[in-house]
Point group: C2
Chain length 160, copies 2
DNA sequence: ATTAATAGGATCATTTCGGTACTATTTCAA
DNA sequence: TTGAAATAGTACCGAAATGATCCTATTAAT
């Protein structure tokens, strides 16, 4: 259904929380605290942060007073990075798997599929869109004027 | 995972088949034949075509020598229409449900969710993108030059 | 030493999705 | 008028993905 999973939602909220000014290098925030702040299941948040840490999006500090902080600036954390960290490459269909030698062969469910190459192109556009949107866009204050990046994307997508 | 379901793949292939020149008002193509052409499960193709018929994208003729034909031109059949016909409105997250009075209330899984409005905006861009792409883009011959619509979208999404 | 935190793995339950089966109805043709 | 070919509709099943939990080990500050 072309839908973000709940995991991604949780991860974005957690990252948005870490982007708040009260979190810094020397004052990380624990997974438990993040989960409590937004009533999210603690074990799940823990696992998601671990995934994000493996991908290099957050840094972890173990032990008492430990926790997580962002590993890079909010405007560097693109949604593609978040999605890839948690559920692998963004691909709207199986035939978009770049690791396959012959893309058309990857589409094993539909022999001689007539639209494989077109689906791949569409996938590129989706990836472009999600690479344009960063954590910074998610945490900006509530105003009616969308962010610069969003405006650019919209202008492009809206033109015809 | 932000992925098209196999149903959508099947539906697109079926529609692409109906767009071929051998199918016309007076010579519809049966669901069974479409399924055979691409080795797709017949009962599933039948159900998908029924959904597409309900949405007005194809017309059906019952009885012997019956079958399906496209109900409109290929460039009028946007991917959003296909997706909506088969699995409902395009919404990348629950909080994108437009039928809800208070969008933020719809996000019942995360109280005081700080990114609901931003997710909705992102959803708008996804919808825009999928509205730009039509069946005509899916069936055009295999050339390296992408279609006009795709070019426009790409130029917009790629700019920064 | 104790406490508080992450790291990692194993596991379970539930929902969704892909797929099947069966019956009714309509239409053409012999 | 009868049979075959097609859609229409519904109910159902199995498997895979997803959401969620539990347990243990390790690390660091007090």
């Amino acid at each position: 259904m072309l839908k973000l999973t709940r995991k991604i939602d949780y991860a974005l909220v957690a990252l948005a929380r870490l982007a708040k000014p009260d979190v810094a290098e020397d004052s990380p925030l624990s997974a438990r605290q993040i989960a409590e702040d937004y009533q999210m299941p603690t074990p799940l948040v823990t696992r998601l942060l671990k995934d994000l840490q493996r991908a290099g999006l957050v840094t972890s500090t173990r032990g008492a007073h430990g926790g997580y902080t962002l590993a890079m600036a909010a405007d560097e954390i693109a949604m593609t990075l978040v999605i890839e960290a948690i559920e692998g490459p963004v691909q709207i269909a199986a035939c978009c798997d770049e690791t396959e030698a012959n893309p058309c062969d990857a589409c094993q469910v539909i022999p001689r599929c007539p639209i494989t190459s077109k689906i791949k192109k569409l996938n590129d556009h989706v990836v472009d869109l999600f690479r344009q949107v960063t954590l910074a866009d998610m945490i900006e204050p509530e105003v009616d004027v969308p962010s610069e990046a969003i405006n650019i994307v919209r202008a492009g997508a809206g033109a015809s």
